[in-house]
Symmetry: C3
Subunit: 310 residues, 3 copies
Amino acid sequence: MSVKSLTLAELASALNADWQGEGAYAVHSAASLAHGQAGQIGFYADKKLKPQLSTTQLGVLILKPADEALFTGNKLLHPQPQQAFAHALALLYPTHLPAIGIHPTALVDPTATVHATARIGAYVCIGANSVVGADCVLHPRVTIYHGVKLAERVQIHSGAVLGADGFGYAPVQGQWIKVPQVGGVRIGADVEIGANTTIDRGALDDTVLGQGVKLDNQIQIGHNCVIGEHTAIAGCVGIAGSTQIGAHCMIGGAAMIAGHLRICDQVIISGGTLVASHITEPGQYTGVFPTLPHRAWAKLAGQLRHQIKS
Amino acid sequence: MSVKSLTLAELASALNADWQGEGAYAVHSAASLAHGQAGQIGFYADKKLKPQLSTTQLGVLILKPADEALFTGNKLLHPQPQQAFAHALALLYPTHLPAIGIHPTALVDPTATVHATARIGAYVCIGANSVVGADCVLHPRVTIYHGVKLAERVQIHSGAVLGADGFGYAPVQGQWIKVPQVGGVRIGADVEIGANTTIDRGALDDTVLGQGVKLDNQIQIGHNCVIGEHTAIAGCVGIAGSTQIGAHCMIGGAAMIAGHLRICDQVIISGGTLVASHITEPGQYTGVFPTLPHRAWAKLAGQLRHQIKS
Amino acid sequence: MSVKSLTLAELASALNADWQGEGAYAVHSAASLAHGQAGQIGFYADKKLKPQLSTTQLGVLILKPADEALFTGNKLLHPQPQQAFAHALALLYPTHLPAIGIHPTALVDPTATVHATARIGAYVCIGANSVVGADCVLHPRVTIYHGVKLAERVQIHSGAVLGADGFGYAPVQGQWIKVPQVGGVRIGADVEIGANTTIDRGALDDTVLGQGVKLDNQIQIGHNCVIGEHTAIAGCVGIAGSTQIGAHCMIGGAAMIAGHLRICDQVIISGGTLVASHITEPGQYTGVFPTLPHRAWAKLAGQLRHQIKS
């Protein structure tokens, strides 16, 4: 789907990288070390892929200056090869974002504020008193309820819902009485939110995502959660209400974090782990049953059940 | 976002509560014990928060008559403080629901029936022969397939899908032949359904949610499930086909319940628990691996794997 | 909701089955062995239900020729009773699919290609350079980003999103730099995709679902996954990026599969299992903590924590 072609020298200039090889060499697209061909650019940063350096057919490789000697073909030298590669992709490939402005089918409440540089896709709904900042991108079919504030450069993928009511009920005589959810949602700059992810509005205070937070698809963020800056959360994660996650954390896919917890900065939660207690020390935390051939699992499960009784 | 202001005496009258303090004291919004300020109302019911009673800056507190002596400021006495607080929120804060009637962009099949008091939001789709009862609220971008019946006061949040086909296939020579899903969905009165939750139509009989059931976001209810009255289910839960859940159950976030099971009334399933057998006794059930620092977890997992072999 | 009525002899002819009993017997709808009444058709294939054969009130039963003697009423003999039953359902019940063609509210990019026989529902969005093959069915509110190719007879349920950006970022000085996702999505013939399921576009290469794959609701497929032919995946499953699943696999509900793994053909993953390693042998794999009454679980969890220290 690439439509542009750039020379090695042009790429070096745009990426602020040194280059070696044939400056007029034309690059039209990008590929991995394993699948790359002539005319394609790739990058090397992960030592596990070192053996592929001798066999790759890539036309141009981006690698660290310290790794210069590992590759003999056309190359770009950059201290952050993956960052430079991301930049090259942005140069070579067209973007497919909604157009700047509000799509004719998008419904924006008269009391909402949408920055003139924002891109609001088809069938997006934006409720009362909500704010969409500069250079935000809302893909088709995003719902923003009332009282949701997006800072600059927030990108939200299709089907995401921000500001639906939190799950708040008072138990009264065996029934559940709804507690009106009157808080809002505040999303920091440079946040990206994946497809069909849901972020509930606060009960009284706001639900808050800090600057640079990245959420994958199908994540559920409960009311009054606070997610620290630059924390990345993989798909299918659920975070129950009023939990505070620190900055620079990484939460693996399908992890679940119970409500009213505090997770400190720099915590890594492994995929599939259920967190039910505060975490006060940085580091990686895991809690998944080992996966085994079914018969071995059944034996182990039986032993564990027996162990309780003894 | 509060726009109204009520005096202590007015609130007491509306909430049918006794009051003590300055009857003309003006309340304009609500807050928690921890964050409350003058002019704000909060409630006290959880004994764990008792220490906050001496430091809270709340202008008005709702508490039980028996707890009257614990707080010296303006107060409302009510046997169900959280219920009274929910009522106060409804009085103080504006609601932001779709308008009564059918939004011009909503598509309602000519054979569907929508009660005149229902609120049908933008871009909602309602299929053939479906019924939406009195005072229902369908937020923007809800899909109701054909043959789905909603009783009164059902509230459905954005992105939810009711009545998509259940996951039914006949295995024939290594391929999957689709089994037409010809049942419907029946939703009882006062049910609330969260954003992006999905409830499949029945294979032959209907999928049924009893009166007062509360579903959080991103829940998946398989075909022919029956959920008993006043059961509350937290986010990211999945319930596989043909399972029957009793009344007054509470299912924690990300719990998964296998198909064709019966769970009796008054069962609590802890978050993240996988239920693979019938449950015939009320009580709480749990099945999650303890979460540990990754190195400790790896050691434990290794010990368990070793244990099978011995 | 049945609107047609067929005789036993007519059904036998349409299903290419032998019949015994009253050829003019009228069938108007379908039901299970347990709930069936006169005028209804059902099937028998699961030996566990054998006791129901003597009590069922079904008007017509489909069963295998070898089981002929087990039932004395009107019957259809077919080697694949469930397949024949699926066929009977399709004959007796009306379908409720979007009409052939593109719904007036659907937005199709001028560079996209939609086959004339496809059914594109209301509020569907289809991006640039995407292709929708013959006889595809896109229910209301499906989003197809740019560069997504659907082969023939693909059915996609409401709220599903195909081709949103994969979760790809380069870590640079504590922040996340977005890596443009320039691959596409390719979906094979006869694939069905459930409500609110999300399938990310590839980072460089495509994300690929093989022919006959069946995905239930709320599944997340990461960028560059490859799912083999006729693999069936139940609801709430997440598959992280670049994982390859073989053909004819069955993945149980809420299972999570980590990234960059290879799962061979004919693998069964139990519901709720987290797969973190390659699987190279066919068979069933399980990894879930036994679910117990909460107090027993707490005791066992404590024992396990103690076990690490010793």
